[in-house]
Amino acid sequence: MKEEVNAQASEAMAEELHTAMIEVEHLTKKFGDLLVLDDISEKIEQGEKVAIIGPSGSGKSTFLRCLNVLEDPTSGAVYFEGANLCDLRVDINLHRRRMGMVFQQFNLFNNMNVLKNITLAPVHVGVQDLRRIKRRNLRTKICNLFRKKDKKAALEPVETTVRQIKEEAKENAMRLLKRIGLADKAEVYPSTLSGGQRQRIAIVRALAMNPKVMLFDEPTSALDPEMVGEVLELIKELADEGMTMVIVTHEMGFAREVATRVLFMDGGKIVEQGPPAQVFGAPKNDRLKDFLSKVL
């Protein structure tokens, strides 16, 4: 009884400490001697749409990539839903499934068609979980052979089959493709698609994992101008649906329109932040003023 109370207390404490969706504490990143992120602490709450702006080389991408530990922080911690992702005992793959990421260069899998690109991870994860349950059940069954009748352990329910997992993933992928108007491209390889199409597919590929948060790293910077609109449109839709997102962007108009908060980074620090109206309308920091005068 006492232990239970203790456990609850410590759990509550852990939650109290890191209640935000993502919390960054004293995050520092060095590449060799180069200090790229300088002791950043920041919280991102559920439902926020955070835009990160700043000059080239200021550490925006590195910061974003530290959020899902694609880049190992040199020191500090990143908490996602209360779990410290920098802790090596934490299964990072489990948490990454809840954090979608979209790259400047799309990074669709070149060796797979569009449908397979989207279904690969959901199917793999589903099948892996199924196998794990089956393995555990097999072990239970074997142990049960040596147990008395009234002491036999119960088996975990197996509610699905590999076939069903594949079908569901495919259905879901087709639904997502329809949503972006690319259902007819399901069987096509990425090399035959335009940049805008590739990026939208990359976005729905991330969505297929049902992420809690989406991280975008300059999703439109590699696109021809006429394709920027379609991608931003899709991201805006997601924002309107309430998806939490962090987006590194050079599209100031978009940041102003969609973001609930804007972070301005310079020299590895978040130098100024606030609602878009304030950051764009009444910047205080000189470097931010200078930056805005160049990009606006």
Partner: protein, 231 residues
């Protein structure tokens, strides 16, 4: 001219030299193909460890072992490797000559394929790995499902060259381990000191084998390229 042909006919047919030639042809093909298969398996493992060694301390130890292995097998002539295996390493064991040749050529080829595969893996854009990891796939899963297929496609032409080089290298197998094409024709030629026909014939046989390999490699390459353009 006539004399030459008669001498060749006598050795090839009457004395049964063709039996050696057929056996040699079989062995040459087996050594080259099995050697390459073993080479691909070893090479892929070594290359994977070397690539992983950049980010993982345990892999780094194995990578160092891999470096020593490739260093030794690329740094010494294949005939010397055959001699060492035949007279030193396998000297106490009663091992079939063909198997011995397959092992040595496999190990030798593995050292070259390791380099080829490493290049192939590194030629796959790092973004492919990052995309896989971001979706929550593990490093090995991403390697197997995404990186290797692209790496292999990239190195098929080079692996083809390796097969061709390996096929020609097998011509020294007969000096140590087993019957092969070269040895079969050498026996015919030296039986009555008529060299011209057997050796030109020998060259022709290698040439045909390699032309056939080249054709097959081109075909596979084309098929692979087509599969990605399909719409």
């Amino acid at each position: 001219m006539r004399v030459m042909w008669e001498a060749f006919y006598d050795q090839f047919i009457v004395q049964g030299g063709y039996k050696n030639v057929l056996l040699g042809l079989r062995n040459t093909l087996i050594i080259a193909i099995a050697g390459l298969v073993i080479g691909i398996i070893i090479g892929t493992i070594v290359a994977s460890v070397q690539v992983a060694g950049k980010r993982n301390k345990v892999a780094r130890v194995f990578a160092a072992v891999g470096d020593v292995y490739t260093g030794i097998f690329r740094g010494t002539p294949i005939i010397v490797q055959l001699l060492i295996f035949h007279y030193i390493i396998f000297s106490g064991i009663n091992i079939d000559g063909l198997l011995e040749a397959i092992i040595v050529f496999g190990l030798n080829s593995g050292a070259y394929v390791a380099e080829i595969m490493r290049g192939g893996i590194l030629s796959v854009d790092i973004g492919q790995m990052e995309a896989g990891r971001t979706l929550g796939l593990s490093y090995p899963t991403t390697m197997i499902k995404i990186v290797y297929p692209q790496a292999i496609k990239n190195v098929i032409p080079t692996l083809g060259n390796e097969l061709i080089a390996l096929t020609k290298d097998t011509s020294v197998a007969g000096y140590v381990a087993t019957m092969d094409l070269t040895r079969a024709f050498r026996l015919i030629a030296s039986a009555n000191y008529e060299y011209i026909i057997p050796y030109l014939m020998l060259a022709l046989v290698y040439l045909v084998i390699i032309l056939i390999f080249t054709f097959i490699i081109r075909f596979v390459e084309r098929r692979l390229r087509k599969s990605e353009r399909r719409s």
